[in-house]
Symmetry: none
Subunit: 192 residues, 4 copies
Amino acid sequence: MARVKDPAKIDRLFEAALRHVLETGYAGLKMAEVAREAGVATGTIYTYFGGKADLINQLYRHLKQQKMEAIMQEHDPEAPLTQQIKLLWTNYFRDALGAPVRNHFIRQYEYSDLLDEESRKLHKNSYKPVYALLEKAKRAGLIRQLPVDTMTAFLIGGANEIAHQGFGQQIDLQEQDIERCYQLAWGAIKQV
Amino acid sequence: MARVKDPAKIDRLFEAALRHVLETGYAGLKMAEVAREAGVATGTIYTYFGGKADLINQLYRHLKQQKMEAIMQEHDPEAPLTQQIKLLWTNYFRDALGAPVRNHFIRQYEYSDLLDEESRKLHKNSYKPVYALLEKAKRAGLIRQLPVDTMTAFLIGGANEIAHQGFGQQIDLQEQDIERCYQLAWGAIKQV
Amino acid sequence: MARVKDPAKIDRLFEAALRHVLETGYAGLKMAEVAREAGVATGTIYTYFGGKADLINQLYRHLKQQKMEAIMQEHDPEAPLTQQIKLLWTNYFRDALGAPVRNHFIRQYEYSDLLDEESRKLHKNSYKPVYALLEKAKRAGLIRQLPVDTMTAFLIGGANEIAHQGFGQQIDLQEQDIERCYQLAWGAIKQV
Amino acid sequence: MARVKDPAKIDRLFEAALRHVLETGYAGLKMAEVAREAGVATGTIYTYFGGKADLINQLYRHLKQQKMEAIMQEHDPEAPLTQQIKLLWTNYFRDALGAPVRNHFIRQYEYSDLLDEESRKLHKNSYKPVYALLEKAKRAGLIRQLPVDTMTAFLIGGANEIAHQGFGQQIDLQEQDIERCYQLAWGAIKQV
DNA sequence: TATGAATGAGCCTTCATTCAT
DNA sequence: TATGAATGAAGGCTCATTCAT
């Protein structure tokens, strides 16, 4: 009988929230504006979300999940390790440049104390497959014998930096540019 | 004849503002709280700063200048290029880890539209010496033949990433850790 | 589907604003107090008015329109000119004494730079019918051959002065007093 | 030994206060701005005046006294009554047009509750000579047999109105204009 | 006496949230 | 469930007054 919650509204609310929260920050984000841009009444947000903090947390988890899926795209655990590393790095890089707003948001809130328990858990788990892969590669002597989190930092640091620098601009990398960038990243961690 | 403006107040206001703005964001930063923590009355802030935006801009320039000085510390333009690069990178890395709050703040506002003209100019100029150095190294065939901004991204990306991950935690790197990290960074850009 | 805007609130806000603005002046008028006296929350004012300046402008136009209607009450453009003048003057006088607060407010803000374009236009237009009537009377030789704005000043000056002096007191003029006062006003402008 | 209060500063403070209080109202008047325009430090005002209210009261009395002197200029209690009335009216009119700012200020605060006892007393006394003169003229059958305050209202109302309308503009009345205006005023009260 | 930095109460306005419809 | 008017707490900034110099 009663109308049911409308998933399309949630998406529109997510979009509107994301569009603004990076420009204004959490405290500057206006619920009324999010509502207006999503085409719903102010009060309606509270049917879908517990409040501002909940909206941001749900948005975080929504985007984080998208990003994790993007990175694991076509991943084959049976493939050679170097190939797996390259695929994951390339996925990460493409995603960082292709969805800079989403990635900027995730980085911004990753370590903020706005995130609730559930969001934090998701974040923590997101590193696991990468760390596991690098541990294998270490044992295989393919990469340097350094802590995996350090090497991860250098792998994704360059990608994040380029995304950060190009934030707001149109970036149009060719396949060969990606290949070159990967060589930089790989040059950093590969066993010498 | 009257009380004279007290520069120490400015420093205390800077400290208090920095301490809070990263936790709360610009919109969440409360002038009254900054004042209270700096040990002055609310209104006193406005004797030293034009308002919230001006406080943040002056803070940005203050910290950016500190960072630029830290990076150029002991820099010798006559030294061998590889040595110069290593010194600058090491300075950058030490600073990123040693003053994570300051660096986080700078990165946060670097591309925000809160920065005024003067602040933007400072930011723009900050890259010049590094780019110039890398151009020389490229011509000397010491590093890859890639755009200097791309290589810069991979140089500082790892450092930023580690600082970002370790934000809020106590990081205690040994000299040899720094050396190892530099090898990662240098491995990324060095001519193969 | 939601609560609907309540025009009665506007009236209550007008009343409260008028009650205070003459005592305190514009800068001294407190929005919170206006709201409290109107029986609404502070923020509610901003549902109906753009802010303090807008509240005062809308109040001005509201009262000015009331006053204009009061003056033109029962005006008959076909009636003899002297009769028209007498009617308008009497209406003006009755209104000045009967609604001294309203009239004081209008005079106070009439030439202030708080008035926006729309309010100024209203003010400007309000003189037109009186000036037109006096011009006709001049051509008919009924009144002195002097500029109509000068004569208008003497017509309404006495009325305003009495209202001004009696401001805050209870004035209870009899019909014959009004008649006598009109004789003073008419004595000033009538052709000798 | 100690320097003594400087009368020139008082004048400059009066001037600055008068210049602003009409534009902004009492609550909008800024002590710091008055001080700056008078060329003294903010705190110095408090050497000369007890505070904002005292500044305005002293200013009122200062200006009121100036005005009373201007009106009584060349007054000769032995002269014929009609001549005395004409002189006082003319003085009043010239003063209203010649010092519109001063007169506007006086009118504005005349009935405000900002005035202290001393100021109120001065105001009350200022009417006495005019009322006495009109009483004599009434007894002599020169003017209408109406209350003197009513007739006073019509005498000065026109003058005030013209000053009010011309407020802020340059008014340049010729001698003959003044004569004509007096005829209007006299026409109102003279015995018919 | 003069200065102007310092104080902090106070006010306009905003906006997350609630609730009558 | 959807709406948007209503609420009122909170924050940036101002400014009369004080006071150290």
